[in-house]
């Protein structure tokens, strides 16, 4: 032995080590069994309804741009995103505008004439309902291709 140590010292050290490990374990169990919610409600997902030809992913990514994305949290009437804090109403307005800007991929065709965004403040689920209408599409004279 390099360090001279008494046997009862070793036993007490071992006991202390086990106490700490058990203590940490119990703290983890306490965390794992607690079901209390954190302060805010995180955005858990986006459901897109009513689209037919415009891909769901396009609309979803546009709504994410308005702040309803993974990592954003709702505190009451405030939406806290990774970039800024906005009021939930404003965010919903922006999301509706952005959803209407969804295009058919690779073109400037914007067939979505109306969009409604609902946010469930308890579950964090965002439901986007859109109306797609190709008979009222206006094309800008932009060059493509």
């Amino acid at each position: 032995m390099f360090i001279k140590i008494r046997r009862d010292t070793l036993i007490i050290l071992l006991l202390a080590f086990m106490l700490i490990v058990c203590g940490r374990l119990i703290t983890y169990v306490a965390y794992a069994s607690s079901d209390e919610m954190s302060d805010g409600v995180p955005i858990s997902g986006i459901i897109v309804k009513g689209n037919d030809i415009v891909p769901t992913d396009t609309i979803r990514s546009n709504v994410m741009q308005a702040g309803f994305r993974d990592g954003s949290v709702i505190y009451g009437d405030i939406l806290k995103t990774s970039k800024r804090e906005v009021s939930l109403q404003d965010a919903i307005q922006t999301a509706q505008e952005f959803a209407k800007q969804s295009t058919v991929p690779g073109t400037s065709i914007m067939p979505i004439t109306a969009a409604d965004v609902q946010v469930d403040k308890n579950t964090g689920v965002v439901t986007v309902t859109v109306i797609e209408d190709f008979s009222s599409v206006e094309l800008e004279n932009s060059t493509w291709g």
Partner: protein, 421 residues
């Protein structure tokens, strides 16, 4: 003097030609093998070209009304988009395929191929196409060339339409006529032999890509099941070509199902999981397998959480549960809950049978999850002791342990100071 005028006119002609060939989807195929709409793979369509910008606008599909609009031609992009929008709008108002396709002729240089399992198919505008029909009773294959007006495949008829032209600059320029004819005949034979439309589309696109060089995706759609290849093969940016449909797309192991996409796949010769040999999947085969629905597959929709991997894992679990227990919401729910308990599904709370929406008729299952708060990976444990008590107990134990260590370390010094007193 004359020579310089001649040169100038040549240059103008060149510029004109260059601007003409800006957008040209030069291969459009639509195949209907089951006009009744029973077979989930009974109608398919696809577009590809040697040219740039083969975005999804060249193979637009309506899932609700089951129609597809394939487009192409030499006109400017704006007129082409105008024609697409007009065709979609008229099809949404229950226009016939022929009348929707005829819209293309009022736009300069445009071409439209429209169709669906119930409305038949039609091609209009500027095209060089074959219409293939297969008689159900006699198995007779008819392949008819068309190049003007509107060519139709009548509703209720098994058959296909293929349009193929070569793009300027294609090294295989001039092969379009023969390849179009041979592919048309092969499509006819495969329809007669009873292959599903998605398989035929994949084979036909492979043949066209290999033999005529009109190979950049593009993509395809399965009209009956509402599946699109989306941006699998389309270009990432403007003025670029998409994925070549006749080149390697991925490598898969047939024994254990492991797979990897190119260019990473170049480094693998054997399967790193089971050591088996790897099979090369070409892009047109990948298109076929992406569009083809197996009869016992289930379409699974996941709501309530966008966590990565959740949707695909849920699909696997639901498919296994359905094949074992059938379309039973409580059996599916308990299978999902087992997955959550085993740590296969992370970040969601347990589901109840009422969270599972089962539609046996359309082979669809919807799962509504409740996401867990914060960074939690699994649902809270159900313990008889309150979490706060455990928390306090744990902290006290940790503190006692640390104090004990301090006491031991300074034991001799502490004992001495007590003795001295």
């Amino acid at each position: 003097m004359d020579l310089s005028k001649f040169k100038i006119s040549i240059i103008f002609l060149l510029i004109f030609l260059l601007s003409m060939s800006s957008v040209a989807a030069t291969c459009n195929i639509i195949i209907i093998t089951d006009p009744t709409g029973q077979d989930p793979n009974g109608a398919a369509a696809g577009s590809m070209s040697f040219a740039d910008n083969m975005f999804q606008s060249t193979f637009l599909m309506s899932k609700e009304n089951q129609f597809v609009v394939l487009s192409g031609g030499t006109g400017s992009s704006d007129t082409r988009l105008d024609s697409i929008v007009a065709a979609v709008a008229s099809l949404e108002n229950n226009a016939s395929a022929a009348s929707a396709a005829s819209i293309a002729s009022s736009y300069k240089g445009a071409r439209l191929v429209v169709g669906g399992p119930s409305i038949g198919a039609a091609i209009g505008g500027s095209f060089d196409a074959y219409v293939i029909t297969v008689d159900e009773a006699t198995d007779e294959i008819k392949v008819t060339p068309y190049n003007s007006g509107v060519a139709t495949l009548p509703p209720g008829q098994k058959g296909a339409i293929i349009h193929l032209r070569n793009t300027d600059g294609n090294p295989l320029y001039g092969t379009a006529d023969t390849v179009r004819k041979e592919t048309a005949i092969n499509i006819g034979k495969m329809i007669r032999d009873g292959y599903p439309a998605t398989t035929i589309l994949s084979e036909a696109m492979g043949e066209v890509a290999n033999d005529s060089g009109e190979k950049y995706g593009g993509g395809g759609v399965n009209l009956v099941s509402g599946i699109s290849t989306g941006d699998m093969f389309t270009p990432k940016d403007m003025n670029e070509t998409g994925y070549p449909m006749n080149e390697e797309y991925s490598k898969v192991c047939d024994d254990c199902g492991w797979g990897v996409g190119y260019p990473t796949a170049e480094g693998y010769d054997t399967c790193p999981v089971c050591g088996g040999s790897l099979r090369i999947v070409y892009a047109y085969e990948a298109l076929g397998s992406a569009l083809t629905v197996s009869p016992n597959s289930v379409s699974v929709s996941v709501y309530g959480s966008d966590k990565s991997g959740l949707a695909s894992t849920t699909k696997e679990i639901v498919e296994a549960a359905v094949s074992k227990y059938g379309y039973d919401a409580s059996a599916i729910a308990s299978a999902i809950n087992r997955g959550i308990d085993n740590g296969i599904l992370m970040g969601v709370d347990h589901v109840e049978p009422k969270d599972i929406n089962v539609k046996q008729g359309s082979k669809a299952v919807g799962v509504y999850y409740n996401a867990l708060p914060g960074d939690r990976s699994s649902p809270p444990w159900d313990l008889p002791v309150d979490g706060n008590i455990l928390n306090i107990l744990g902290s006290i134990q940790t503190a006692v342990g640390i104090i004990l260590i301090l006491l031991v370390v300074f034991r001799s010094r502490l004992l001495k100071s007590f003795q001295n007193r």
